[in-house]
C-alpha cells in the first residue's frame, strides 16, 4: 500500500469494501428495471434462468461500476461525495478494482450467453463498454452533455431483460430504453440544481457550472417535454394498457408541472425557499420512473388473467 494512503498499512480490504466497488445503489435500479423488462416480455422464462439472468445483469452493472471507480480514482478523491469510496480512501488498491471489474465483466457476459442467448450477452457487454469506456473515459470529463449520452448505460437493463426472454429487440424494449434515457437528464439536473457540487474542483464539466443555472433550468424543461411522448408512446404498445396510460398521464403532468415551476424560478427564489421546488421535482422524478415500471408490471400480471393490455 502506498505511503500516502489514509489507511494504516495493515488494513486488509474485506468483502464489504469490494462490494462497495460495485455501486450497490445503482445496482438496485438496474435489477428492478431489468426484472420488469424480463417479466413484461411475451415469452415466459424459467424462474431459475430468470434469476441467473438478473444476477448476471446486476454483476455486469457492478463490474462497470468497479471499472468506473478505477478510472475515476484521481477525481473521486477531490470530491466530498466520492472521497470515501474504496479506492480514494485507500481500502482497495486501484489494480484490484481493475481486476475485479474485468473479471466480473467476463463472468457476467459469458454466463449470460450460456444461460440465455447471445443478443442479451452482447447488450450486457455493450452496456459495460459504454459506461466504463464511452462515459467514464471520454464523455464525463469532456462535455456537459455527459449525463445525456452516458444515461444510455443506465437505460439498457430493461432492454437486456427483454432480450433474455425474447431473444430479440422490438419497439417495446426500445421505448423502455428511451423512457430511462430521456428521464435521466431532467432527473439528474434537478439534483444538480440543489446539491452543492464540487465537480468544478475535479475538472468535470457539469451543465450548472459550464452554462449556468438558468440554462440548466431550461434544459430540465426541454428534456421533460421530450420525455412525455416516449412515456405515452410506450402505453400504446403491446405491453401498455389502460392502467399504464392512466399512470403515465398523471405522472407526466406532475413532472411537467414541476419542470415548468423550475423553469420559472431564478437563483433568488431558490435561495429564499432553500430549493424546495427543485428538491420536490427530484423526488417526483424518482416516483415517475418507479410508477411507470410498476404499471408495466401490473399490466403484465393482469394479462395472465385475461385482463390488462388493450
Amino acid at each position: 500500500m502506498s505511503d500516502i494512503s489514509a489507511q494504516d498499512s495493515n488494513y486488509e480490504a474485506n468483502m464489504g469494501d469490494y462490494f462497495a466497488l460495485l455501486k450497490p445503489r445503482v445496482m438496485s435500479l438496474v435489477v428492478f428495471t431489468a426484472l420488469v423488462g424480463l417479466l413484461v416480455a411475451p415469452l415466459p422464462v424459467h424462474p431459475f434462468i430468470g434469476f441467473v439472468s438478473i444476477l448476471c445483469i446486476a454483476v455486469g452493472a457492478g463490474a462497470s461500476g468497479a471499472l468506473n471507480m478505477w478510472w475515476d480514482a484521481d477525481i473521486d478523491q477531490l470530491m466530498k461525495r466520492t472521497a470515501t469510496r474504496p479506492i480514494p480512501s485507500g481500502r482497495v488498491e486501484p489494480g484490484e478494482a481493475l481486476g475485479i471489474g474485468l473479471a466480473l465483466s467476463g463472468f457476467a457476459v459469458i454466463l449470460l450467453a450460456l444461460a440465455t442467448n447471445f443478443l442479451a450477452a452482447f447488450l450486457l457487454a455493450f452496456t459495460i463498454f459504454f459506461y466504463a469506456v464511452v462515459y467514464s473515459m471520454f464523455l464525463k470529463r469532456a462535455t456537459p452533455q455527459n449525463i445525456v449520452i452516458g444515461g444510455a448505460a443506465g437505460a439498457f437493463p430493461p432492454m437486456i431483460g427483454w432480450a433474455v426472454a425474447t431473444g430479440g429487440i422490438s419497439i417495446e424494449s426500445i421505448l423502455m430504453f428511451a423512457l430511462i434515457f430521456m428521464w435521466t437528464p431532467p432527473h439528474f439536473w434537478a439534483l444538480a440544481l440543489f446539491v452543492k457540487s464540487d465537480y468544478g474542483n475535479a475538472g468535470v464539466p457539469m451543465l450548472t457550472e459550464t452554462h449556468g443555472r438558468d440554462a440548466t433550468r431550461r434544459h430540465v424543461l426541454i428534456y421533460t417535454i421530450l420525455l412525455v411522448p416516449v412515456a405515452l408512446g410506450l402505453g400504446i404498445t403491446s405491453i401498455g394498457g389502460p392502467i399504464y396510460m392512466a399512470v403515465a398521464v398523471v405522472m407526466n403532468a406532475w413532472f411537467l408541472k414541476g419542470a415548468f415551476d423550475i423553469y420559472r424560478r431564478d437563483d433568488a427564489a431558490c435561495e429564499a425557499d432553500k430549493h424546495k421546488v427543485e428538491i420536490g421535482v427530484f423526488k417526483v422524478s424518482l416516483y415517475y420512473l418507479f410508477a411507470h415500471f410498476c404499471a408495466l408490471l401490473l399490466e403484465a400480471a393482469l394479462r395472465q388473467y385475461g385482463l390488462g393490455g388493450w
Partner: protein, 66 residues
C-alpha cells in the same frame, strides 16, 4: 509436533476467505442449477444422451422400429 498454522494474516483475511468461499459455492450452485434446468428443458429423454455432441450410432433408432 502438531502442525499449527497461526499467523495473524489468517485472522485478518478471515472475512475475505469466507467471502470467496461463499462466492465459489454460489457459482457452483448456479452452474449446477443451470445444467439441471437446461437438460430438463430438452424434454425428450433420448436427447440427454445425444447432448454430449458425440455420434452414438447405438442410440439412433433403426428404420422401421418406430
Amino acid at each position: 509436533m502438531a502442525i499449527k498454522v497461526e499467523h495473524e494474516v489468517h485472522g485478518r483475511r478471515k472475512n475475505r476467505n469466507y467471502g470467496v468461499l461463499m462466492l465459489l459455492i454460489g457459482f457452483v450452485g448456479i452452474v449446477f442449477g443451470l445444467t439441471v434446468v437446461k437438460v430438463l428443458q430438452l424434454g425428450d429423454a433420448r436427447q440427454f444422451e445425444t447432448f454430449d455432441h458425440v455420434a452414438r450410432p447405438q442410440i439412433v433408432p433403426e428404420e422401421g422400429t418406430e
